[in-house]
């Protein structure tokens, strides 16, 4: 099973790097911790390597399977289903099905037993699976999704959720009642666009439950939630940021501790900057943050940001005592935080 929770050795890498390394490890059938050294490469480069490796591994056998796909067209579907389940097996089935016309492959898939179909889905060539999975009927998608989630096949699920039809997202979300599993799946989604599609289709109460679950859970689960919130665009990010800012104080305290533990203030601070001014004020003045070690890490993270301006504006909401303490910690680090009043006019749209 691949989740970010199994990867303590990957601590310190960006969330996107972690997800990519876990996916590459899964493709190469090695332990993800053994690839921690690839953290020198940025996430898009690891992804490019994975895509090239996928092509090399799956294309190598394409010709052999093409002959099988051609031969399979001569057999009636009930006999073919029998042969696939009893003789061919899920691995070969997965390789051949992408070479069979999608409509016929879907017809065959509907007749296969669900556990077999799920075994085959795990082995599918992601590139040839596109037309196939997009065409699967909803009941089949929900059945496969439920079984994949039960098996903890989150990398496969991340790929799967990218390919299913838009109107199948909600039934899949409803079928997976475990909020942590939804976060694991979102963590491995291939496209940020699809992440937005998913969040858009999660009912508001479920979305709040998922955020609360992440906020009150382990640091690893919080890392996945951060990746989700950070990965989506515009209004949706603002919506998730607001849900987070409105959490009970105990949950926010846990978020602070977990963000500190995973060293990801550089991700959380821009999210806090997306909250309403009232929520920003609430979050940045939390007593739990007024700790020298936490403040020092926050300051270091601010100076690592590509655009510090939205985050610096948060300072305007700091209570005077908290601001004085922050400035004192900054001085100890040999740094000086800019005055938000000077930056405000430079922020577009503010």
């Amino acid at each position: 099973m691949a989740t970010v929770e199994t990867t303590a050795e990957l601590t310190g890498l960006s969330l996107a790097q972690r997800a990519e390394i876990i996916k590459l490890a899964r493709l190469c059938r090695v332990d993800d911790a053994s690839l921690a050294w690839l953290g020198k490469l940025d996430a898009p480069l690891i992804r490019a390597l994975r895509e090239q490796a996928t092509a090399a591994m799956f294309d190598a056998d394409r010709k052999r399977f093409h002959n099988m796909a051609t031969a399979s067209r001569l057999l009636p579907i009930p006999i073919l289903v029998l042969i696939i389940e009893k003789v061919i097996g899920p691995l070969i089935c997965a390789r051949v099905c992408g070479l069979v016309p999608a409509a016929r492959a879907i017809e065959i898939a509907e007749k296969l037993k669900l556990p077999f179909l799920v075994d085959a889905c795990i082995e599918l060539d992601p590139r040839s699976a596109e037309a196939l999975i997009a065409g699967f009927p909803k009941h089949l998608i929900v059945g496969i999704a439920r079984e994949l989630a039960k098996r903890g096949e989150y990398v496969t699920m991340g790929r799967f959720i990218d390919l299913i039809a838009l109107d199948a997202i909600r039934p899949v979300v409803d079928a997976i009642s475990d909020d942590a599993k939804l976060l694991h799946i979102a963590f491995f989604a291939e496209s940020t666009e699809r992440l937005g599609d998913i969040v858009e289709r999660i009912p508001p109460q479920r979305l709040s439950d998922v955020v609360l679950h992440a906020a009150t859970g382990s640091s690893e689960l919080w890392a996945e939630a951060l990746a989700l919130i950070f990965g989506i665009d515009g209004a949706l990010q603002q919506k998730l940021a607001s849900i987070t800012g409105e959490l009970p104080e105990a949950a926010l305290n846990n978020i602070v501790r977990n963000t500190q533990a995973i060293g990801r203030w550089d991700v959380l601070l821009p999210i806090v900057a997306r909250m309403t001014p009232a929520l920003q004020k609430r979050v940045i003045n939390l007593p739990v943050i007024q700790d020298n070690a936490i403040l020092a890490d926050i300051i270091r993270a601010v100076f690592r940001l590509a655009d510090i301006r939205p985050v610096i504006l948060l300072l305007a909401h700091l209570d005077p005592d908290a601001r004085a303490k922050l400035d004192s910690v900054a001085r100890q680090l040999g740094l000086s935080l800019p005055d938000p009043a000077l930056l405000a006019p430079l922020i577009d749209g503010r």
Binding site: L38, L41, L45, L49, Q52, M68, I88, G89, I92
Partner: protein, 79 residues
């Protein structure tokens, strides 16, 4: 970089190119020669393991094919 390290870097890049069946993506120059060699070995092993797994699955499938037809099926599957 010493010429020996440069040479081993070239060899690793060639091995990686062979494993991936194409020119690797740009940006791998941040890897040390030993890491590049490790990456090439990872990809080569993964591809070999994948092929062995497929061969094993095909051979297993063949055991269900009547003896008389196996030679022809082997040929079709390039086994």
């Amino acid at each position: 970089m010493s010429s020996a390290a440069g040479g081993s870097r070239e060899a690793s890049l060639a091995a990686l190119r062979s494993a991936l069946d194409r020119t690797p993506p740009a940006g791998l120059d941040v890897l040390e020669p030993a890491e590049l060699a490790r990456l090439a070995a990872l990809m080569t092993t993964a591809k070999q393991r994948q092929k062995a797994q497929v061969d094993a699955a095909l051979t297993e499938s063949l055991s269900h094919v009547p003896l008389l037809l196996r030679g022809a099926v082997r040929k079709i599957l390039d086994l």
